[in-house]
Symmetry: C2
Subunit: 399 residues, 2 copies
């Protein structure tokens, strides 16, 4: 998988720009634009929160579609809980982009992230969209600027790109995202965009994105708090016959990888995080059960703090499987941390605690392998650990 410091593969047919229009007081990039040269297929996956921001409702109503031309994103203001004004503002953003690039407003998708409950500073946004449409380019630096323009308090840029050869044809996938964890007074919202020049129909694009999201962004958590603005979009610019059958399977697999890689970057950059916990549950009755158990272990503050402290505390992990909900077999429950078996078939195993604690502390990713029975269900889940920095960051702000 491509690292951001290496050259980025950029699918053909897209141009990018970002500007600092003044939404963020810091003066950092806060308006980002992705424009397709021609109408492309677009699909989206959106927050399941019942409190939904205006831009989410608009993008949701416009996907899947075969006529998408652009994605406009502002950071620094989530345009959430902003009532009718928020809807008007989000519509105005898409209308302005449509007018500038010459398409129907329905061909423009919109995302927002940042503080909630405040109206967008539309004068600044309008100027920003004007400036961005003038600066569009297909260069790597423009792509990276667009990726930077969607960040809020993320420490690191989150970009993944790759190429895949299917039946002799090389396709490119490039993706960007911004961080998880909700940040006072901002809501840090997960936003992501996957671009490809592989030819996909709009409906297939929607399926591919949903499958990938379920295996990646829906399997990570920082603090378990679902934002009002979460949005993941996929645009496919590829011409010619749409992928299907085996070709599509190969492509799906690679999109899964890209999304998992991006999702793990979100967790690694979670507020105050010092470790990624990678939880792999096997032996559950089915995949849904395995996912719920993994998610419960991932969310336990006692498990998170044990990982922070490099403590191979099997009691906390095993007991979390017992209250997750799905049926488990306590006599067939086993646990490995960093490949060391410390609990087998319901009983503790002797292990070198000091050495295991050392490898937990020194590994940025701590692997937790949990067998909960003899069923076929398995699932992976990623979470950040819980540190004082998280608490400080989220409590030492006062309205």
């Amino acid at each position: 998988m491509q690292k951001p410091s290496l050259p980025v593969f950029i699918p053909s047919g897209f141009r990018f720009a970002a500007t600092a229009c003044g939404i963020k007081k810091s003066g950092k990039l806060d308006l980002s634009l992705i424009v397709a040269d021609r109408p492309v297929r677009g699909a989206g996956v959106y927050t399941t929160n019942q409190i939904v921001a205006a831009p989410v409702l608009i993008s949701q109503s416009r996907t899947p579609s075969s006529e998408i031309r652009a994605i406009v994103t502002n950071s620094g203001n989530a345009n959430a809980c902003t009532g009718d004004q928020g809807t008007q503002d989000a519509l105005a953003m898409t209308a302005q982009v449509a007018n500038k690039i010459g398409c129907d407003p329905d061909g423009v998708l919109v995302m927002s992230t940042g503080i909630i409950g405040h109206a967008l500073p539309m004068e600044k946004v309008t100027a920003g969209i004007d400036a961005a449409t003038e600066a569009l380019s297909d260069s790597e630096s423009s792509f990276l600027s667009a990726a930077d323009g969607i960040l809020t308090t993320d420490v690191d840029r989150k970009v993944v790109s790759t190429q895949i050869k299917i039946d002799g044809q090389t396709y490119t996938i490039a993706a960007m995202a911004k961080g998880a964890g909700m940040i006072a007074p901002n809501m840090a919202t997960m936003l992501g965009v996957v671009l490809t020049d592989a030819p996909l129909s709009a409906n297939v694009a929607a399926d591919v994105l949903k499958t990938a999201a379920n295996l990646s962004f829906n399997r990570v958590s920082v603090d378990g708090h679902t934002s009002t603005n979460d949005t993941l979009l996929l645009l496919s610019s590829g011409e010619g016959e749409f992928l299907d059958g085996d070709e599509l399977d190969q492509f799906q697999y690679r999109v899964n990888e890209v999304c998992i890689d991006l999702a793990k970057k979100l967790v690694a950059d979670g507020e105050g995080a010092t470790h990624v916990m990678a939880i792999n549950v096997t032996g559950a009755a089915n995949e849904a059960d395995a996912e719920l158990i993994a998610k419960t272990v991932a969310a336990s503050p006692l498990v998170k703090t044990a990982i922070t402290g490099g403590d191979p505390n099997w009691g906390r992990i095993v007991s979390a499987t017992g209250y997750a909900g799905p049926k488990i077999d306590p006599t067939k429950t086993s646990l490995k941390i960093c490949s060391v078996t410390i609990y087998r078939d319901g009983s503790p195993e002797p292990f070198d605690a000091k050495s295991l604690s050392e490898s937990m502390k020194s590994n940025p990713e701590v692997e937790i392998e949990l067998r909960v029975g003899t069923g076929p269900g398995q699932a992976k889940y990623w979470s950040s650990d819980l540190t004082c920095d998280y608490v400080r960051f989220n409590s030492e702000y006062t309205t």
Copy 2:
């Protein structure tokens, strides 16, 4: 409601003792005994965790019953994940008490709390039971010792007692509990005992206890991690006609109050807690929905840290209602913190943020009133806030 510093009302028919038998390295009291002079009605409510400690299984199999004579509790070792040995040890504890006081082992209930995955030091436990049975007394100081003997890392003793007059007859209720929050390497387990001289049948005692537990101990959380050992027991020593009808309703109400009071003590003494959050959800479709929404708000690390910091951050609270699961009406969602309306019918309300922040900081109990629609469902829930001390306490231990 009686405070522990005031005289404690103790129902007639019970004697108490506690000893330090050496399970705890600190030398603190770690074996506690409650003995009824005659067989009394006993009922229990137990952990829903599928990983269940041996003493829980034994007490569970012996309640409800009209032939209970004693409760023996050790602290410092949970006798959980200890296999057949654990079952033998727990049975041996009850058999020894039964032998000492002259009853069938089925008349003795057992609770344990402390480190998991280690066999009980039975030589010490046996000596402790011998010493405790010699020291039994109905004095207030013995009752308080018994309450101290079930604590682990709790800072404060948790005792509530009260009297209620029903149809000219005065009944006494005295209850003790130990703390929530799971503590490395211990599992801090909720244990509780309610004693009364009000006459209840065994089955009614079970109903009364279940109702009270659902409104109290099942409505509090420190870190949402359900222990393997949670046990709440009720013993009724009262002779004569069993309470029913209006009399029983009055009694039930008072037991609810006692249990809510005890449960709030658990939260206030949660690890690192600086505030109790009291979450009152109204307007949900039904009580179960209201409870789930309140629980979700209570569990959000972002809400908890906002309370820690005295931050009236309505975005975090309102967005948590939106991902809790139950249907809400975003246009009828309103929020008060410390009686100040800050969000009304889906829109932010102007308020004096500085003054509200001051009252949040200075109030040990921060009240969050959340209306989520126009339905009849309501529920109260209590939780601790999340501080660096919690993280430190739970991460700075290494096996």
